[in-house]
């Protein structure tokens, strides 16, 4: 939850900001419920483009991280692998119009 100004109730209120991966999906004002959301088809296109970029750069990013901080990288790797299915499920839910967990 983050404070943003709402163009509907014209004041600053907490907003729920949802992402599909790294792509902005929607914002909802906690005061009036005003929701701004990307068109689902456009969101999926943007997500696919971003996912291609993430997959393409993953090996290099992992390598950089392993070289820069080998111990931290080794410690974090098992956890990162374990949470990946849940992350992907959440992204899938957002892409199909459901709230992320």
């Amino acid at each position: 939850m983050v404070v943003l100004a709402c163009s509907h109730c014209r004041a600053e209120h907490l907003h729920e900001v949802t992402y599909a991966g790294r792509v902005l999906a929607s914002t909802v004002c906690s005061n009036c419920g005003w929701e701004l959301a990307k068109d689902p088809a456009a969101l999926r296109r943007a997500w696919i483009t971003d996912m291609e970029r993430r997959v393409r750069t993953k090996p290099l990013r992992m390598l950089r991280s392993a070289v820069a901080h080998p111990v931290t990288f080794a410690r974090a790797l098992p956890g990162a692998v374990l949470v990946k299915p849940a992350q992907m499920t959440n992204e899938w839910r957002v892409l199909h119009g459901r709230r992320a967990d």
Binding site: V3, L4, E12, L14, L24, W34, K38, L60, R61, Q87
Partner: protein, 262 residues
């Protein structure tokens, strides 16, 4: 007196009060946007400023760990000094200036460049324009002409008046460092708290603030819809004519950005 054209610049990015006025919410400066946090884009703009010698990020104490993590992930190798801000923008600016006071008093910083963390899309030419004008005149801010504005009196009648010279103010704003520090110290002893840097500089120093052209893309993320606009602008900025991201692409490429997830 003009500042020598080879001035040394300190950049200050304000992220202490960015959308945190309600409860214990997250700071909007740390929201992801186009592959990295809003804050990282804003810092990246300032770290590319000509003749930058120091870069200060003003944070709230609660964000210290998050700030350190984001800097390590998204701006590796960039030396950023963290300063805990105050309850108001004015107080945060004053703390940043006091942090730099030693260098300012020893003449190792000539100009201070103050920028909002919530403005991630500032084109490089706006930064250059502000610095050049401040070197010449002592203080400079970017402004955009206000269009379609009319004055209305107490009875809701049009009151007329000339509004052609009104501007909306943007950041970064640049000031002669010694004068600005003295102005904030004088304001503190008076109990004055300005709404922006220029207000304090004009009131407590000899500086005359010059307005240079801003840029329509230099939006401040304030409304929820600004996030969508900023994301679109960042996507569009991968085109050939934009300096916001193009320069970044030239160094490590968008595809090489540090991940937020995935």
């Amino acid at each position: 007196m003009p500042i020598p054209p080879r001035s040394r610049v300190a950049g200050v990015v304000l992220a202490a009060g960015t959308g945190t006025r309600v409860g214990a919410s997250r700071n909007k400066a740390y929201l992801p946007l186009g592959g990295r946090r809003i804050l990282s884009w804003s810092l990246d703009v300032i770290r590319r400023a000509p003749r930058l010698s120091r870069l200060v990020l003003v944070i709230r104490e609660a964000d210290r760990d998050l700030a350190a993590e984001v800097l390590a992930e998204e701006l590796p190798g960039t030396r950023v000094e963290l300063v805990v801000g105050g309850a108001t923008r004015h107080e945060s600016e004053h703390r940043a200036l006091e942090h730099l006071a030693g260098s300012i008093e020893q003449g190792r910083i000539d100009l201070v460049l103050i920028h909002d963390a919530a403005r991630p899309l500032t084109p490089a030419q706006v930064v250059r324009r502000v610095i050049t004008a401040a070197e010449r005149d002592g203080a400079a801010i970017p402004g955009m002409p206000v269009e379609g504005v009319l004055e209305v009196d107490d009875l809701s009648h049009l009151a007329g008046g000339d509004h052609e010279r009104l501007v909306t103010v943007q950041t970064p704003q640049a000031f002669r460092a010694g004068s600005l520090l003295a102005a904030y110290r004088a304001a503190a002893s008076d109990g004055f708290a300005g709404t922006d840097t220029a207000a304090c500089a004009e009131r407590y120093s000899e500086l005359r603030v010059t307005v240079v052209p801003g840029d329509q893309r230099n939006i401040k993320v304030t409304y929820a819809h600004d996030l969508f606009v900023a994301e679109r602008l960042l996507d569009a900025a991968t085109g050939p004519d934009d300096e916001v991201v193009k320069r970044d692409l030239g160094t490590h490429g968008r595809a090489g950005m540090q991940p937020l997830s995935g």
